[in-house]
Amino acid sequence: MKGYFAFVLHAHLPYVLHKESGALEERWLFEAITESYIPLIWGLEERASNHTQYTLSLSPPLLEMLADERLIDRYLQYIDNTFDLIEKESSYVSSHEESEVVSFYKKRYQRIKQTFLEWNGNLIAAFRFYVEKNKLECLTSSATHAFLPYLLTEQGIRLQIQFGIQCFEHHFGFKPDGFWLPECAFTPGIDKVLYEEGVRYTFVDEGTIRGLDPTPKNCHVPTFSPHGIVLFPRHNEVSRKVWDAQTGYPGDPNYREFYRDIGYTREFEYIKDHIHPEGIRVDTGLKYHKITGETEEKESYVRKVALDRVVEHSNDFVHSITGSLNENRDNDDGAPPLTLASFDAELFGHWWYEGPEWISALLERGKNQLSWITPKEYIKRHYQLIETHHASFSSWGRNGFGEVWLNDNNAWIYRHLHEMERQLIKLCAVDQQQAHLTKQAIKLLANEWMLAASSDWAFIMDQQSSSEYAIRRIKDHLGVFNTLKTAIENNSITPHLLQKIGSRYPFLECCEMPNITSEHDQYIASQQVPPTNDGDETTILMLSWEFPPNVVGGLARHVYDLSRAMAKEGHSVYVITSAVDGSPDFEVIEGVHVYRVRGKQPYHEDFYHWSGSLNLAISELALKLAEKVKFDCIHAHDWIVSVSAKGLQQRFNLPLIATIHATEHGRNNGIHTDLQGVIHHKEWELMYEAKHIIVCSTFMKHELKAIFQVPEEKIAVIPNGVDPLLCRTATTTGSWKHKFGNEQDFYIFSLGRIVPEKGYAVMIDTASLLKDLHPSIKFIIAGRGPMLDTYRSSVKERNLENNVFFIGYVSDEERNMYMSNCDAVLFPSLYEPFGIVALEGMAARTPVIASDTGGLDDIIDHNQNGLKVYAGNPESMRDQILVLYENGNLSKHLVENAWSEVTSRYSWDHIAVKTANVVKQFTRKPILTGGE
């Protein structure tokens, strides 16, 4: 013999013990007890030896129903009713053959009742007894027999497995180390939870093993799943001999015919007391025919002939097992093969009436001819030889995967089952310090979800025969789930409500609800701080696509400085910005919560759709944040975030404040393309939706009024600020000057993107005017841009190589060094919405010369904090440079005034207060009257 044989049964019925007796589906349980479970107990009772232990899995719903006290009366009533019918039948039937069958039933039902009463109606006690006698090995399945691969979360799987094990332990007094996967449905990840819950082995379909990666040498050898669960495959060919409707043993002509029940054939008046009270004809259990063959004329059932066939079939089965084992090649090094036959327990007795007798015959015959083993024993002996493989999704259903439980007839249920799973986890996460009543309610909620998730409902819908009941059950559990959920959310749970809901299906009362809140959610809850915003402080959601280190223009700097200053003032600031590689998704920078999000298409070729993708991501995160953080307002910067800003404003009904840093119209000197038109429209929408608009210069205010017709009173001008600390340099010497000329030369520094509107062409002209009379005046221009080469050539052509230097990119430190140690900074811009560089020059304590354009015009007060020149006018620029060149005292005066503005008007602290004032005008904070 090359290998072992093991026999496994799985007993399961969905939970159908309704609160009110008489439900049609309750009969499923009565029939299974009568025809399968009690005859199986007889088999155990009659067998003397314990050489041939088999394995029986009992599902938690079945265990709970078998243990229910209500069952005893109801079942006895059922049996007594059948007795009455048998009595009636004895005088009703006429033929000798039929009388024989009736007297067989009479004896059999007497014995059934006797067994039931012997065990005091507690069949679990019977199975437990035979486990103790070593005749049987028992294990269990998931809490409600859910098709585990179709659950949503790990917690859902854990609940199903943990409740299953707890329930079994409650009824059997020990924890099982084997576990029956409902429908043998496996998928990667289930093994992890099983292992963590103490399970060591389970059962799968042969197809699971055939599809292992790497491919196994023999598909009848158990394997370890990656997480260390031994997977025992069913031997399909051998098992088919029993379950196959056409070719299997149960189809033998001598066996009892299943469908011709007298419940359907007798006169209604005669039978009405023995069928469903509502007059629905049902199986009575009394069937008088044998299968006979493919004919409508069925012959009478002859018990003795059927039992002879049982013996023959058990012999045949032993023979085919031996055959299957002999097919195995000699396998010296690996774990030995195992022919495992596994079936639904109800197949034996209920579907195949003679099945339990066949099992007894098999156990008897196989005792000496087969090496029987239990899965547990197999592992004990051979675990060292079992190999590990990756197993993919599979089940024992039609075609080996999920199509029985997922098809056009039943797919709709998963949307609802998943939602219940999510809601359950949500309720646990939201209230982690549950009061006693809430705890009870959550447990009931879990029950309702689990009862709805039973694989039976999807299975019944697939069959399309009695799907009505299955649909009604799902609706029922879903409805009660939602009622209870609302009660928990509204804090309106009462003991009466819980009692009412719980008594519908008193199920798994023995189980403790485990903690299903993720570590992350526990952490978030532990971080909860009581809101301190009882006064002037506001909680602001700030949206900006740019934020350091993602610096494209001046926007990043602005939002960075503003957010930090507002946080310093005591406001809670949450910035959501776009992700950059290498930066964390979340960090707290000087009190500012910075979240960096990535759109689902972070490399979209089209910038416009890239921004759309970013907005969806911003909104998604903001919605999540709002679950925990109560925002007072949304502050959006520029059009790129307008879609999410508008969406969130509508969703939360919060005031929206928009800061407009620049406009598409201004940047392009008009709107020329479709895309510019779309962006222009987005800007308009953002301003339209905003409660108030902030701009940084009167220049921008005029632009918005002129181009977008924004009413004057909707716009606040708050200039940009500057942080002097960020303009400091470690280099105090002017040693860099040697690169360009002498230490005592007059150095003018400028910085900006090298584009036409920055006016560097004018600067070159000015240099040309000064060159001959004042060769010691030098111009240093830092920055990159499309005009860089053009300007460099122009400098060469005009022989200004010793006067004008375009030095390209400089680091922040270099910038600060030049700015602090030069004699003047100069900004010759033609268009400039704000001109933050001018402030940086002021903060570096260097005199500033700037053109009278845009925001620069606002900042510079001529002769007070700097000097102003006519934009685009080289002569004007020359004159002002010379004023400064010739008057050292003026320089000192300008720098002092400028510095005092930098530390007041342009300090971020000041700006934060002003911005907060705008925000506060529009947030409806409750007014605290104090004194309770």
């Binding site: 949307r415 029922d476 998604e620 944040l625």
Partner: protein, 213 residues
């Protein structure tokens, strides 16, 4: 009388049994019960079948979710829901009413890739009829990892992703020469990988998933 009926009813007796116990007719018991239930009108437990008609199933939950379940080596089932808020965002971004947008599923084969939202071994698109919230995606390859996007075909010919599923692995069908996970299993066994390199279908669901503190 009614108190006794309700008591027996709560014990799980059928109307017939109650009638028998109380030595009265079924009709009388039913009548009393009906009256009693009418009086109890605003019962808090609606939805339990024994508290009346089972409720209708919610049509939507106003969630953003796109879930994919495997059916077979060639077929997966996708179902989704788009929050009205998200619909509004997309409408705003594309300046087109939601009902006039062209909805699609885009299926990416991302086997053994770290998917960045764009590159995949291959992808294909299914145009969805209006009012559709689920689809059986067929003609897939066994033993591959897929990601599915629900998105919009924009009028400028771009695809804008609205929702993305978690990766899903189609089961293996071939019985010979499976070796895709061979190295991963060895790495896992030897402990050189802390987390499994293959995709496991379940993750711990955190309600405050994207929140940090």
């Amino acid at each position: 009388m009614i108190d006794e009926i309700v008591l027996l009813k709560d014990k799980g007796y059928s109307v017939k049994q109650i009638a028998f116990e109380m030595n009265t007719s079924i009709g009388k018991v039913q009548y009393r019960l009906k009256k009693y239930r009418q009086l109890q009108g605003g019962d808090a437990v609606k939805g339990g079948e024994e508290f009346g008609q089972a409720p209708e199933i919610p049509v939507l939950y106003n969630n953003d979710q796109l879930t994919v379940l495997p059916q077979s080596p060639q077929c997966v089932y996708a179902f989704w829901e788009i929050h009205t808020n998200t619909q509004n965002l997309v409408t705003h971004h594309l300046t087109t009413e939601w009902c006039n947008l062209m909805k699609q599923l885009k299926i990416y084969d991302v086997s053994d890739l770290i998917f960045d939202g764009h590159h995949a071994h291959q992808n294909f698109v299914i145009s969805l009829p209006e009012m559709t919230n689920n689809w059986f995606v067929r003609d897939l390859e066994p033993n591959r990892t897929y990601v599915i996007d629900f998105g919009i075909q924009t009028c400028d010919g771009n695809f804008l992703t609205v929702l993305r599923s978690l990766p899903i692995e189609t089961p293996r069908e071939k019985v010979e020469g499976n070796s895709r996970h061979h190295t991963s299993v060895l790495n896992w066994q030897s402990g050189s990988q802390k987390n499994s390199e293959w995709y496991e279908h379940f993750s711990t669901y955190s309600y405050y998933q994207s929140l940090k503190s």
